[in-house]
Amino acid sequence: MNIEFLETLNLYMNLPFVQNAIIVAILISLCSSLLGVTLVLKRFSFIGDGLSHVAFGAMAIAMALNFVDKMFLLLPITIISAILLLKSGRKAKMSGDAQIALVSVGALALGYLIINRFSKSANISADVCTTLFGSTSILTLTKTEVNVCIILSVVVVIVYILFYNKIFAVTFDENFAKGIGLNTEFYNLLIAIVIAVIIVLAMNLVGSLLISALIIFPAISAMQICRSFKQVTICAIIYSLVTTILGLMGAIIFDTPVGSTIVVVEIVIFIIFYILGKIKGGIVA
């Protein structure tokens, strides 16, 4: 039985689109876990969720217009929405999260309407299904999409390393950071733009409804057991890589939807971390 399993694995590993999927998945999970830590600590998780629905709406427009490489439409729309959401979230007379909920749900509804009416695609429900839940999009990436993913991920990682200390300062205490002369407006904007980029990339992996999981789970899992910001960051990365690869391979081998499989693996491993955290803290779960 073991040999059969290895043979099947070997078969899949040799398929170029599987190799691409693994590379892209690793890069996406790396980036989303990095920014997830900041997002969760700044209590901005709802921005990730709202943006992912906006991205779905943008994807719908891209499908209706029959774009081949949809990312070139998705990226600008999502980035602009991120900037607007962040700015208006602070100034709005309504509380920030009501506004985001509006945009979020509106984009989702509008998106589905557009796909329904205007898509010339052969199989609309497949498109919707795969965009929302990421069933096969990671396995059907075009060469351009793969290259764009790689370049953007590398840029995100470099930006994160360069601005790591600033991101920490702005996340922990924005008022103090402003007081010592840091341009917190700029850094918040930077974080918003990077989140937007990551969301567009991550839509390929887990679909827009499940992106929040990819961003949030690594951070909250790491925070169960880690004691410094650096530890939390590294732990989140490891958690994200492991759950993504396990989830992706599991989905490939057992023919389950990629997005949901990854999230289920994340839930299981989060529970393990949670229990470990409680034991460590001296309180048995």
């Binding site: 694995l9 078969l11 391979m249 023919d255």
Partner: protein, 154 residues
């Protein structure tokens, strides 16, 4: 804390090793038939098969001229001027993601009687070719051997 690091490192190593463990063996399996199959997809099922077929369609240059074998379900599409297109459909379990690859049976017939019944499980083995119809370019298999599976008795 260190223990957890080590656990994860070893988990990652196991996973990475499983990538490299196997030699770059081709997925080709020779059958008893004379023609050499370049891309044998009969091992693939569900979303893997669907994805592979979509990838072929997205990147025709790599696959045109090569012999491809796959298993799917028979389908017919009615085109303009009563023209019929014969398709082998592939999809995942939920049929959420499905697509079809057009094929022309050996001998080049375009009559419905020469093709299997719609809905039957078929295994097709043909050479990928691109052709133009109007302004659009399409892909189909030519010189195709077709094997029809018998229905499983309940």
């Amino acid at each position: 804390m260190k223990k957890i690091y080590l656990m994860f490192l070893s988990l990652i190593m196991v996973i990475v090793m499983s990538f490299n463990a196997c030699a770059a063996a081709n997925a080709t399996r020779a059958t008893k038939k004379e023609e050499k199959i370049d891309y044998d997809l009969v091992q693939l099922k569900g979303q893997m098969l669907y994805s592979q077929v979509v990838n072929i369609m997205e990147d025709p240059d790599t696959y045109v001229g090569k012999r491809v074998r796959l298993i799917g379900n028979m389908g017919i599409i009615d085109g303009a001027d009563n023209k019929k297109y014969f398709i082998v459909n592939v999809g995942d379990v939920t049929s959420c993601c499905t697509t079809g690859l057009e094929f022309v049976i050996k001998g080049g017939s375009d009559k419905v009687e020469d093709y299997p019944e719609v809905g039957k499980k078929v295994r097709v083995n043909g050479v990928l070719e691109s052709y133009k119809e109007g302004t659009q370019t399409y892909l189909h298999l030519v010189d195709t051997d077709v094997y029809v599976y018998k229905d499983k008795k309940k």
